[in-house]
């Protein structure tokens, strides 16, 4: 076993093409042992191809895949210590739950006694003990997903691949399974390589998220990093809902970047590349990072505006606010439903912390 902070997988400058389409473009990424890393992106972004290359189902055109120090680029799937939870679970319909879980152990040449013991342990660990002799057909979606997980964990892989395993579950169950999955990952200490297009899933479970677009990495970082400090327009738009602010850099004031936004001077911060004065930039400001004041606040950077549209969303209300000289600038913000009711004449003031307005690189 490797130590806590060791690199378990190195995707070394890997490129994969399908015909003229570049599915994965010079991807270079290290995955640390014990980490829950999620590859997030729209369909066709290259996340699944990356996963399939790690599993051995696709061979890279360029670059190497190093697993625990050994080059496995050209190893077939059956020769790698990597196991996978498939999108449709791919449980063998002619085998019982127990036989499914035992399959990998059996093929590894383990003795019957050891197979039985480990299968029993895993089923118990995943609360499936009572289902050992059932067939996959007789299970619910969530149970199937756990069986697929148990089967993939059974051979004790160095890396566990999960290919959108929650896609087939209904929305209610999905939230619960997310928590379970994260918990299982923590308790087993396994390295999880999770692929999804669902940003909520990625934010809930991951230690680290890698956002991919068109075969390249847009940004990699913790869920908080990606959410509050996006570096690119793609990341800002793909994850959550946001205000995109287009303006020109006036200059740098203390730690903040001052941007001219339709004549207003607004303060932000860059988390990637630092822009130069005079440059046209786009910045992202999350709806929940906009503070709304029904009365004029004391802080001087507060901007006065007029509510043009209110959308009640249960616990909070989303407001469309027109600001600026000619009321020609639109910004959207969240407000507590109770506070939203106390706005007089649709007039309010908004403000935000400078480091929450993320200046993007494109």
């Amino acid at each position: 076993m490797t130590g806590e902070k060791d690199t378990i997988v190195h995707i070394d400058n890997v490129t994969k093409r399908f015909g003229s389409v570049v599915a994965v473009d010079r991807l270079d990424m290290k995955i640390v042992a014990g980490e829950f890393v999620t590859f997030l992106g729209p369909s066709g972004c290259g996340k699944s191809t990356t996963l399939r290359m790690l599993g051995g189902f696709e061979t890279p055109d360029e670059g190497r895949i190093v697993l625990d120090g050994a080059d496995v680029t050209r190893q077939p799937p059956n020769r790698r210590d990597v196991n996978m939870v498939f999108q449709d679970y791919a449980l063998f319909p002619h085998m019982t739950v127990g036989q499914n879980v035992a399959f990998g152990l059996e093929l590894k040449g383990k003795s019957r006694a050891e197979i039985d013991r480990r299968t029993g342990e895993l089923l118990e660990f995943l609360q499936l003990s009572g289902f050992r002799n059932r067939t996959p057909e007789q299970l619910s979606g969530g149970q199937r997903q756990r069986v697929a997980l148990a089967r993939a964990l059974a051979p004790d892989p160095k890396l566990l691949l999960l290919d959108e395993p929650l896609g087939a579950l209904d929305a209610k169950l999905r939230g619960q399974v997310q928590i379970e999955l994260k918990d299982i990952q923590k308790r087993t200490g396994k390295t999880f390589f999770f692929v999804t297009h669902d940003q909520e899933e990625a934010l809930t479970m991951s230690d680290r998220i890698v956002v991919m677009n068109a075969g390249r990495v847009e940004q990699a970082g913790t869920p908080e990093d990606l959410y509050f400090r996006p570096e690119s327009r793609f990341v800002a738009e793909f994850i959550g809902e946001t205000n995109l602010i287009e303006g020109t850099v006036r200059g740098i004031d203390r730690d903040a970047i001052v941007i001219d936004w339709n004549g207003m001077a607004v303060r932000g911060a860059a988390h990637g590349r630092q822009p130069a004065a005079g440059e046209a930039v786009t910045a992202s400001l999350r709806l929940e990072n906009v503070t709304c004041h029904p009365k004029k606040p004391t802080r001087e950077d507060a901007i006065e505006g007029r509510v043009v549209n209110k959308l009640f969303k249960g616990s909070r209300t989303s407001l469309d606010i027109r600001i600026g000289e000619g009321r020609d600038t639109l910004i959207r913000a969240y407000m507590d439903a109770g506070n939203a009711a106390s706005i007089d004449d649709d007039q309010l003031w908004i403000s935000w912390e400078a480091d929450r307005l993320a200046v993007l690189r494109d």
Binding site: P76, Q99, E106, L107, K108, G109, K110, S111, R112
Partner: protein, 328 residues
């Protein structure tokens, strides 16, 4: 399907309790096996070639080989080879076909019979298939279909014999007609084109029924409802919606029945007579009566194969391209 379990359980029993890996585990961990498997499946290309080997061999050796050999023998003046004689190339076998009415008449009679039988089969089975697909409840369709399937599992000879009993001079039909007082002397159904037709249709109807049924079953009911909604009467709905949409079923059913009905030998021998000799009997004669007429039999078989395949090819082309125009 506890086969994996029992298998491994047996192995475990044979060894010390729990001591040994299972069969497949042991196989995969076996060094010699690993080496062989590694070499055989080293690249996807190699794996593909391996997978292709037997099917390609079979297709060319067993499917195409006999046909090519048959064509070739048709050009020889003597076969099977005799000691001390080198067979010569000749076109005489092919020419013989066109020179003798004894050959040409059964040939065209076969085509005409098969064409007629195919048409009648289509007319009989279309309403049956339609009834099954559209009027029988989903849950009962299998049962109704099964009722039709059972007789078709019975072999050619047994079913031919059943028709002989039905149509014989002392057969059921004649008995029924006589007891109804409709006839005094039995009608000689047997050994005519009629008895042959009854037999051939009996044998081949399923090959028409199944494609028709699966084509009709696929037509959504709401197409017909939509047509009715637009003011189409029953006949128009059938002609403009059902018939064109079942065209594929008609095409494959007719093709199958035509091809298969030309190939029967025992049925024409047993049900047909001297005035309904078909080409299969002509061909068979070369292989039974005299020993040295294989080349002529081969040439005649080739002629029949070309004719039937060309006719069905033409038919399918008509159904496929101009079929739309035909049906309108």
């Amino acid at each position: 399907m506890a086969h994996a379990d029992s298998e491994t359980a047996n192995l475990a029993k044979a060894a010390a309790p729990g001591g040994r890996p299972t069969f497949w585990g042991a196989l995969l961990q076996n060094g010699a096996y690993q080496a062989i498997s590694g070499t055989l499946f080293k690249t996807p290309r190699r794996q593909f070639v391996l997978l292709a080997s037997l099917p390609l061999f079979w297709v060319f050796f067993a499917n195409l080989g006999p046909i090519i050999e048959m064509f070739w023998i048709g050009f020889l003046d003597s076969y099977p080879p005799k000691v001390g004689y080198q067979p010569q190339f000749t076109l005489a076998n092919w020419a013989a076909f066109f020179q003798d009415r004894v050959f040409i008449i059964p040939f065209f009679r076969t085509l005409a019979y098969s064409f007629t039988f195919t048409t009648i089969t289509l007319l009989i089975t279309y309403p049956v298939a339609y009834f099954l697909a559209k009027h029988v409840k989903r849950g009962h369709q299998l049962l109704f279909l099964l009722l039709l399937l059972i007789p078709f599992w019975v072999g050619e000879i047994v079913r031919t014999y059943a028709i002989m009993i039905l149509l014989g001079n002392n057969g059921a039909v004649n008995l029924a007609l006589k007891s109804l007082g409709l006839i005094e002397r039995p009608i000689p159904f047997m050994y005519t084109g009629f008895s042959l037709g009854v037999g051939i249709i009996y044998l081949t109807a399923l090959y028409m029924l199944l494609p028709l049924y699966s084509a009709l079953e696929k037509i959504p009911d709401n197409y017909l409802e939509a047509a009715a909604d637009l003011g189409a009467g029953a006949w128009t709905r059938f002609r403009r919606v059902t018939l064109p949409l079942s065209r594929e079923g008609i095409a494959s059913g007719c093709t199958l029945v035509f091809l298969i009905s030309t190939g029967y030998y025992a049925t024409p021998v047993l049900l047909g007579g001297p005035r309904s000799t078909v080409f299969a009997e002509t061909i068979a004669g070369f292989f039974h009566v005299a020993g040295d007429q294989w080349p002529m039999g081969a040439a005649f078989s080739s002629i029949m194969l070309i004719a039937t395949l060309a006719l069905t090819g033409l038919f399918l082309k008509l159904m496929g391209r101009d079929g739309k125009g035909m049906m309108r």
